[in-house]
Amino acid sequence: MSTDLKIKVRGLSKAFGRKVVLNNLDLDVPRGQSLVVIGGSGTGKSVLIKCILGLLTPDKGSIEIDGREMVGASSDQREDAMRKFGMLFQGSALFDSLPVWENVAFGLIEGRGMKRRAAKEIAVRKLGAVGLGPEVGALYPAELSGGMQKRVSLARAIATEPEMIFFDEPTTGLDPIMSQVINELISKCVNDLGATALTITHDMHSLREIGDQAAMIFEGKIVWAGPAGDVDHSGNGFVDQFVHGRAEGPIKMPIRPL
């Protein structure tokens, strides 16, 4: 039922020149749940999330957020929708001209018009929630390690206490311990806020840690969707091959002989 859905995507298509990235894709994100979309590189995961966020304009299809159509919405309507969102980018995307605390407080100061002092207090609190001390607030992003940047980015995503948080490859490029730390922080933050979450990843460990629901994308379509606990026995050839990392299966890698 659409009333239980935070996001409803129907017939979404997007091509770049001749390359079709999303091909008539349907996706439901249930309210209050954490949906993890898995898929290999170049299957359209990032394009999907960017279309939902309005960073890319789809060629056709419908994206409803809280029952309101977002494709073709005015910039004011889109900005309203954005106020409900938080986003953790794959490369963290921290503003390197601003200190860490201003990065975290950015959505509060610029998006909500909060006074800088009050926003700084919240930023320091959010940094604490992701395991970073207040002294980190004065540093610049270039002075942080990759794991710390991810945590700052997570703090920025949750600073405005959004209704929905997007995670784009949250553990890519991190060591296994830091990946686990990030996964646990994501689960904790999403649960504490009672937010809906949409994560795209190819990390099966992340899926098991943070997902309530799962979906698999291949060649721009959702080829399987179900509870996250079912991925190991989905009965779907694509999912089985991906989960077990087999070279043989319905997903073909075009490899030419040397």
Partner: protein, 258 residues
């Protein structure tokens, strides 16, 4: 033959497409720049970046241009015993043409390149996307302050360049060529008209807008990693320089055509 014509047609159409894209970018930037929210802190920061930090390079350009102008005019005009026209030539050339054009080209190299590199890096590291997800319009936050600062600060720079350039001509004429200093200054002040200075300042405003616009346009649309940022930087400087020369003619025509 047909493929040759096709190439010409394709080049012509892509040229028209580029003009259309720049025009839409300009209209969107200007429309959003006049709507709230405004960012006075960012405008001030850009004014310092464009105005204050460009002073040394513009000042050096102006003083040596004024000095060379006096020297060259002397060697040329002495053949007709018209040395007394040196102050007039120096002040008219500087205020009407050389001041705004040379300052515009120097600022295009220094500031336009920096803007394209900064925005280009922000684009390829998803910082511009992050701005959007934090309910902040990148046009209002990044582009508008740079356009406003360029529009305001280049006339200020050119006014200073005019004074420094005239001082350079005065220095060479009095110290090296033996002109009477009082006569030189009197000739300069008597000959120069308000329209000479005003036309130069109007040109400077146009050039400042062009430099900021090209820096923002190429940076904003940068793609393809470090190579893309490098290309955006080069394109920003080249297109700004060419447009400065074109609009120099257009504004001159508007002011002085009979």
């Amino acid at each position: 033959m047909i493929s040759f014509l096709q190439t010409i047609g394709r080049t012509f159409l892509s040229g028209l497409e580029a003009i259309g894209r720049v025009t839409l970018f300009t209209l969107k930037s200007v429309l959003l720049a006049i709507q709230p929210p405004y960012y006075p802190r960012l405008i001030l920061k850009q004014m310092i970046e464009i105005g204050f930090y460009s002073l040394p390079v513009v000042g050096m350009t102006a003083i040596f241009t004024g000095m060379v102008l006096a020297l060259q005019t002397y060697t040329g005009f002495s053949r007709f015993s018209a040395e007394s026209a040196i102050p007039n030539v120096v002040v008219i050339s500087l205020t009407r043409e050389l001041g705004p054009v040379l300052a515009g080209l120097m600022v295009a190299g220094r500031v336009g390149a920096a803007m394209a590199a900064e925005l280009g890096t922000m684009r390829v590291t998803e910082q511009i996307d992050a701005l959007t997800t934090l309910s902040t319009n990148p046009f209002k936050y990044l582009v508008a302050p740079r356009l406003i600062a360029g529009l305001i600060m280049l006339p200020v720079l050119v006014l200073i360049a005019d004074i420094i350039g005239v001082a350079g001509g005065y220095l060479v004429s009095v110290v090296k060529l033996g002109f009477n200093h009082a006569t030189y200054l009197k000739n300069t002040v008597d000959f120069v008209q308000a329209l000479d200075v005003i036309s130069g300042l109007v040109k400077a405003g146009v050039f400042g807008f062009i430099v900021a616009l090209m820096g923002c346009y190429h940076g904003y649309h940068s793609h393809g990693g470090a190579q893309g940022v490098g290309k955006a930087t080069t394109n920003a400087v080249v297109t700004a320089s060419i447009l400065i020369l074109i609009f120099n003619y257009v504004v001159t025509e508007l002011f002085f055509a009979r």
